[in-house]
């Protein structure tokens, strides 16, 4: 009997894992949980709405992916799309970044091969969350590479739920960014790994990672061509490349020449020559026009106000606006404070890897300040650097606590082991409150991190999971009201218009109309031809009889406008109208912005400018709206989006007729009437 407990404890001992194994187990299970968490937190959108593609660009990506699955890669490459930019068309195969579509199709094919009969839409919807999960893994390894595995774990957790990243990677957000951020972080990680290990395999992996990233997000070789040696933006990178050649050449020469004096002289000559040659080449290139000057987007990165004055089409996109502080706070929360702390730790332990992450963090933070959408690029850096701060702080505090506990346990015996000596030193100089202080600080850190988790969950569920195709609002009784007007209109177009009908709308809705309505559009979100967009802007801001000329010349059958006056939906065409005027006026000087303003003020009520009250956009939005009672206690024709009674209630249309309006009036579609000036011919022929 006496031996029983002994053998039992032996058995237990043999099952008991060693410290290292325990740590590995904990680490792996945390990583697994983070992987799952990153995936499921992005499923809020599916839970709240449905498994659908979101917003604008993802619809184009979805459409091309569908094309790719149906027609194969070669047809995809040679695809000339007649359904957009009528009558110009668009060479889709050569003007998109195929990384995303190829990835999705690959996943789809693999699943199909494994006999999982999934639909390509499901694959597209879940691509972004899947890659977000993978990003957490990369973040772990990256954090491990630049600091330690603890920082890696924290980085993985932070990036898994960081709103800045979630905003572009929820289920259904089938956009390039979803894959590209993974590719970006992966490339950086492998690059740092290559630098740290000096291994050729890692550097090769880095090159492939980079190739994958550019194929998904930019610089795709098929239409970049010689841009990287020709465009002004790439000159800095080229210069660095050139300098590196010079540096290694000099290194080699130094190795060959033993005499330092001789080398000094050689150095002077070479550097002068190199700078001169580089300068002359650059100057010649600039003058001859071989090297193109910097583009508008690049200028707007350096000067946030540039776009507003010079390129209205870039400035009109809300995600190209300079970032407000509130959105920094919204997207980063406590990371905003942890970021400088992490920078401090990085500077304290400078290495190639930490310098890299500091550079990445600081530059991307600057760009995030210039353009809202670039917050996304800053997010991984911010998460990593903050993770260093969290991990280092918590580690220091716990070491303090643990060492004290040990001392209490072992009583007055001397400390032993190398790691103990440092804690002993700490103990010696410690104040009596140090332990309590450490506990308090740990609790503080725990509190902050839990606040972060709460904030992230809230933001994800409330702000970033809306597909923006389906609008949700709270009804009078607190119930959830869904406005599904966009799809109503697009499906109506798909079913009840001729197959070859051409639809004119502002470019925002182009991708959605082609993808969901399956009809040809005049302009879409790929804003490659400013003149064409300006033509549409001009048509919208002209009087009806002038506009009909443009509409007929573009062979348009239907005109679609988005109108929020009934529901109070504020991002409608009336609110976007000034951009149409500006973009139209940028190409056609007959359109002048001041004509639509009264004392610099934009209004739609009785005091509005006469041109405003009679332009096509106004007429199409407010057609028969003057008879409509929108709100109790308000006069008919009360616009709820702008909170005014409209100025022109008696809208008559001559060349267009209402073809369809959705149940909440959000989308209104007008049919272009056939020309009726030859009425007598009709009468004699068929009467």
């Amino acid at each position: 009997m006496a031996t029983m407990p002994a053998s039992a404890s032996d058995l237990l001992k043999s099952f008991k894992l060693k410290t290292k194994q325990q740590e590995l187990l904990i680490r792996v299970s945390i990583l697994c949980l983070v992987y799952i968490l990153a995936f499921i937190t992005r499923l809020f959108s599916v839970l709240r709405y449905e498994s659908m593609i979101h917003e604008f660009d993802p619809y184009f990506n979805y459409r091309t992916t569908l094309y790719l699955t149906e027609n194969g890669f070669y047809d995809f490459w040679n695809w000339f799309d007649y359904e957009s930019w009528y009558p110009l068309g668009r060479i889709v195969g050569g003007t998109l970044y195929p990384g995303l579509m190829v990835t999705a199709v690959l996943i789809y094919r693999i699943l199909r091969f494994l006999r999982f009969a999934v639909h390509i839409r499901e694959v597209c919807v879940l691509t972004a969350p899947f890659f977000a999960s993978n990003t957490t893994l990369v973040a772990y390894f990256f954090g491990k590479e630049i600091w330690d595995s603890g920082a890696g774990l924290v980085a993985a957790i932070l990036i898994a739920i960081c709103p800045g990243y979630i905003s572009r990677s929820v289920a259904g957000s089938y956009d390039n960014e979803g894959v590209a951020i993974f590719a970006l972080l992966f490339t950086f990680y492998v690059f740092v790994k290559a630098v740290n290990t000096g291994s050729l395999a890692w550097s090769l992996a880095s090159a492939f990672g980079y190739f994958y990233m550019v194929s998904a997000w930019g610089g795709y070789i098929r239409f970049v061509g010689f841009q990287h040696v020709q465009s002004g933006e790439h000159m800095a990178a080229m210069g660095v490349f050139f300098l590196m050649q010079v540096f290694y050449f000099l290194d080699w020469v130094k190795h060959m020449l033993s005499d330092t004096k001789l080398f000094q002289a050689f150095l002077r000559i070479t550097v002068t020559c190199a700078v001169a040659v580089g300068g002359i080449a650059l100057g010649l290139g600039m003058v001859s026009g071989y090297i193109s000057p910097w583009t508008g987007r690049f200028y707007s990165l350096l000067d946030p106000t540039y776009a507003k004055d010079h390129i209205p089409i870039i400035a009109s996109v809300s995600e190209h606006q300079p970032t407000a502080w509130s959105s920094f706070m919204f997207d980063f929360h406590i990371l905003l404070f942890l970021f400088p702390a992490g920078l401090y730790f990085c500077f304290k332990r400078l290495s190639d890897a930490t310098i890299f992450i500091v550079m990445y963090g600081l530059t991307s933070m600057y760009f995030a300040g210039v353009m809202v959408r670039l917050i996304l690029v800053a997010t991984p850096a911010v998460c990593l650097i903050s993770a260093i701060a969290v991990s280092a702080t918590v580690k220091n505090l716990t070491v303090l606590l643990r060492s004290k506990n040990k001392v209490v346990q072992t009583g007055s015996t001397k400390g032993s082991g190398g790691s103990k000596s440092s804690s002993k030193a700490l103990l010696d100089q410690s104040q009596p409150f140090q332990k309590n202080g450490a506990i308090a600080l740990l609790f503080g850190a725990f509190y902050l991190l839990s606040r972060y988790a709460t904030h992230c969950t809230w933001v994800t569920s409330e702000a970033y999971s809306s597909p923006s195709i389906v609008l949700a609002a709270r009804g009078a009784h607190g119930n959830r009201v869904i406005f599904d007007d966009y799809r109503e209109a697009y499906f109506w177009l798909r079913q009840n218009t001729p197959q070859d009908a051409k639809v004119m709308s502002w470019w925002d809705y182009g991708y959605q109309i082609t993808a969901m309505g399956n009809r040809t559009v005049i302009v879409d979100n790929n804003t490659w031809n400013n003149t064409h967009i300006a033509t549409v802007g001009r048509a919208m801001s002209s009087y009806e009889d002038e506009a009909i000329e443009i509409i007929r010349s573009l062979d348009v059958d239907y005109v679609l406008v988005v109108f929020g006056g009934v529901t109070g939906y504020s991002s409608d065409d009336i609110n976007k109208f000034l951009w149409m005027v500006r973009i139209g006026g940028g190409v056609f000087p007959v359109i002048k912005e001041p004509d639509y303003l009264v004392n610099g003020e934009y209004r739609v009520d009785k005091g509005a400018a006469p041109k405003m009250l009679n332009c096509l956009m106004y007429k199409l939005c407010y057609y028969r709206f003057g008879e409509m009672l929108t709100e109790y206690g308000k006069p008919p024709g009360y616009d709820r989006a702008r909170g005014v009674e409209i100025g022109n209630k008696d809208v008559k249309l001559e060349h267009l007729e209402e073809a369809f309006t959705t149940s909440n009036w959000i989308v209104r579609i007008y049919r272009v009437k056939p020309p009726n000036n030859r009425w007598w011919l009709n009468r004699y022929k068929f009467g």
Binding site: R115, G417, I469, D484, F491, Q495
Partner: protein, 611 residues
């Protein structure tokens, strides 16, 4: 055009009509035409009398070709007093026949009576004929707020190859608003019903065209194509997916569309528009969904209890004349409600057509997807249709599932009858898919294990590879050292235990014996330790950790010495029979050192363990 042709045809028939083709006489014909939806149902009660010399078993029914084109369903059943549209349990077989010497432009159907009609006997039975596309909107185009008027044409006399003695006709309309109707002798209008007759003693093939023009705002819901997919899973579910392509078959809408009118004035509700559809799903239907090519449609309601489930679906937009829409509804049914077994074969028993009420289907394709591995498949259906087989590859299939495809055109709700698909299926095949999944995951783990243990490096002689291998050996050696030290410590514990026994029992001999055995053990262990230490000292990779290992071994030696000394002291003291307190005090100092050393050794062990 259509009208005039119809009238012309009827006249031609009556002109060409040759008298009494048979010895049968229809002694009484009572026809009721129901025009209350867009499906026209003609229910007739016929009393047949055999006036000839022979027994007759077949009765001919005649329809003008134009009507016969639209004939979707024809059924004859024994007369019941109050049966309206009930699908009777007994119905008589009906065939298309082409008897000789008959006027052109008429299609004949022959009804086989259950018993031959003997001479002079009479028999009463009901005939139900259902027509689609028989109502023509007039005017053909209407505005959004206009009511829909339709035209119906028929003959006031019953078209028959037999002499009809007494007949009457009544037309039931949906509304009392009648634009116009043909007035013949003895025509009566009562509310929404028009009555013709009775007419007596009319010769065979007599006819008199009538036209009714009336208001019919009921939705003209027509499915141009419906594909139903019924997938059986033996894990307990039958999944039904129905893809509809709908069109509003009424008067075409013209002019401007407006949301204002229906929203502002509640009473003008776009009279002819299809606003919603009602589907009567089988009871216990679950997981119902309603979507289309671009996503879910959020406007649907499901009401239900244990007896029925009623699904109310709204299309994305109200459908006016000529408008189209397409959508998919799907639902699951419990397996035990649809699947039965008989004579070693399983059979699926499920309704053939759509659950949507008052729906005309132009083309219906039913696909029954049987589980993979089903064999010996046959179909039993109440009416004739095209059928063939396909295979479908779905989740985790290898060869694909057999699919029975049935196709039929021109269907009305009366076709929604049960049909059966018989097949053989081995219950063990059910386990195939889970086993595949399990083995897949198992293989994945095996692959992981193999990967972790396989040596994938290409160059076996590169410096880094060799260094790595050496380090691996060093690690194994250190592991051994670690184990040995642990065993040593265990023997230390035994010694301590023997001391404790000594203090309790005072048996010095036992204690000495324990000492001896441990001595032997420890000697063996130190022997084992020696080659390991020499290996570690010689190995270049072990340089960083060697000092620690050596320190550990030295500390352990020291600890052992101290312990032995303590043991000796204690045993000696017992031998001398000194007092307990005396022994305590002697050991105390040694004990302190031992504790400190033990702590150090433990720390070192932990450190080495982490390597």
């Amino acid at each position: 055009m259509g009208i005039s042709r119809f009238v012309l045809l009827v006249f031609t028939i009556s002109m060409l009509a040759s008298p009494a083709l048979s010895d049968l006489v229809l002694s009484k014909v009572d026809r009721r035409i129901y025009l209350t939806s867009h499906i026209v149902r003609i229910s007739s009660t016929l009393e047949v009398e055999n006036a000839g010399p022979e027994t007759v078993s077949k009765v001919l029914l005649a329809f003008p070709d134009l009507q016969a084109q639209n004939l979707a369903y024809l059924m004859a059943s024994p007369h019941e007093a109050k049966a309206k549209f009930k699908v009777s349990v007994v119905s008589f077989p009906i065939d298309v026949v082409k008897p000789e010497d008959m006027p052109p432009g008429v299609t004949f159907y022959s009804v086989s009576l259950p018993q031959g009609l003997t001479v002079g006997a009479s028999f009463t039975f009901d005939v139900l004929a259902v027509f689609t596309h028989a109502l023509r909107p007039m005017p053909e185009q209407i505005g959004q707020a206009d009511i829909q008027l339709v035209l119906y044409q028929d003959s006031a006399y019953y078209l028959s190859p037999y002499v009809v003695k007494v007949q009457s006709l009544s037309l039931k309309l949906p509304d009392s608003r009648i634009e116009s109707y043909t007035t013949l002798e003895s025509t009566k209008v009562q509310g929404s019903e028009i009555k013709y007759g009775p007419y007596e003693n009319l010769p065979a093939f007599s006819s008199s065209p009538i036209t009714v023009h009336f208001q019919n705002n009921l939705p003209f819901t027509i499915a141009q194509e419906l594909v139903r997919e019924i997938e059986i899973s033996h894990w307990g579910n039958v999944l039904v997916t129905e893809h509809y392509k709908l069109i509003h078959g009424g008067a075409q809408s013209k002019g401007e569309f407006s949301r204002l009118e229906p929203q502002a004035r509640e009473n003008v509700q776009d009279p002819s528009a299809i606003r919603y559809l009602v589907a009567h799903l089988p009871p216990r239907a679950h997981s119902v969904y309603y979507r289309d090519a671009i996503g879910n449609i959020s406007t649907s309601h499901l009401r239900g209890d244990s007896k029925k489930a009623e699904l109310l679906i709204e299309p994305r937009y109200p459908m006016f004349g000529g408008w189209r829409t397409a959508f998919t509804i799907g639902y699951g049914l419990p397996l035990q409600d649809c699947l039965y077994e008989s004579e070693g074969r399983r059979f699926l028993n499920i309704t053939f057509s759509s659950p949507v009420i008052e729906l005309v289907i132009d083309t219906l394709i039913v696909k029954v997807v049987l589980p993979e591995g089903s064999s010996d498949i046959s179909v039993a259906a109440p009416f004739f249709m095209k059928q063939w087989q396909e295979t479908k590859i779905s989740h985790l299939d290898i060869v694909g599932r057999p699919v029975v495809v049935l196709e039929k055109t021109n269907l009305v709700p009366e076709h929604n009858q049960y049909f059966q698909v018989y097949y053989k299926f081995n219950r063990l095949s059910m386990l195939r898919e889970p086993l595949m999944l399990i083995s897949g995951i198992f293989l994945f783990f095996v692959a992981c294990i193999v990967y972790m243990h396989a040596d994938t490096s290409i160059s076996k002689f590169s410096a880094s590879y060799l260094a790595k291998q050496q380090w691996e050996e060093v690690r194994v050696a250190i592991q051994h050292v670690h184990n040995i030290i642990c065993q040593c410590l265990a023997t230390h514990d035994k010694l301590e235990a023997s001391l404790r026994d000594l203090s309790r029992t005072g048996e010095v001999q036992a204690c000495k014996a324990a000492r001896k055995s441990t001595d032997g053990l420890l000697k063996e262990l130190s022997k084992e330790l020696k080659p390991l230490m020499t290996f570690l000292q010689s190995s270049p990779s072990a340089v960083q950790v060697l000092s620690k290992v050596e320190e550990l071994v030295a500390k352990e030696r020291e600890l052992l010495e101290k312990l032995m000394a303590k043991h000796s002291t204690a045993v000696e003291a017992y031998d001398k029979k000194s007092g307990a307190r005396d022994i305590e005090s002697r050991i105390a100092l040694q004990q302190q050192k031992i504790t400190a050393l033990r702590q150090e050794v433990d720390d070192l062990l932990e450190f080495i363990d982490e390597i």
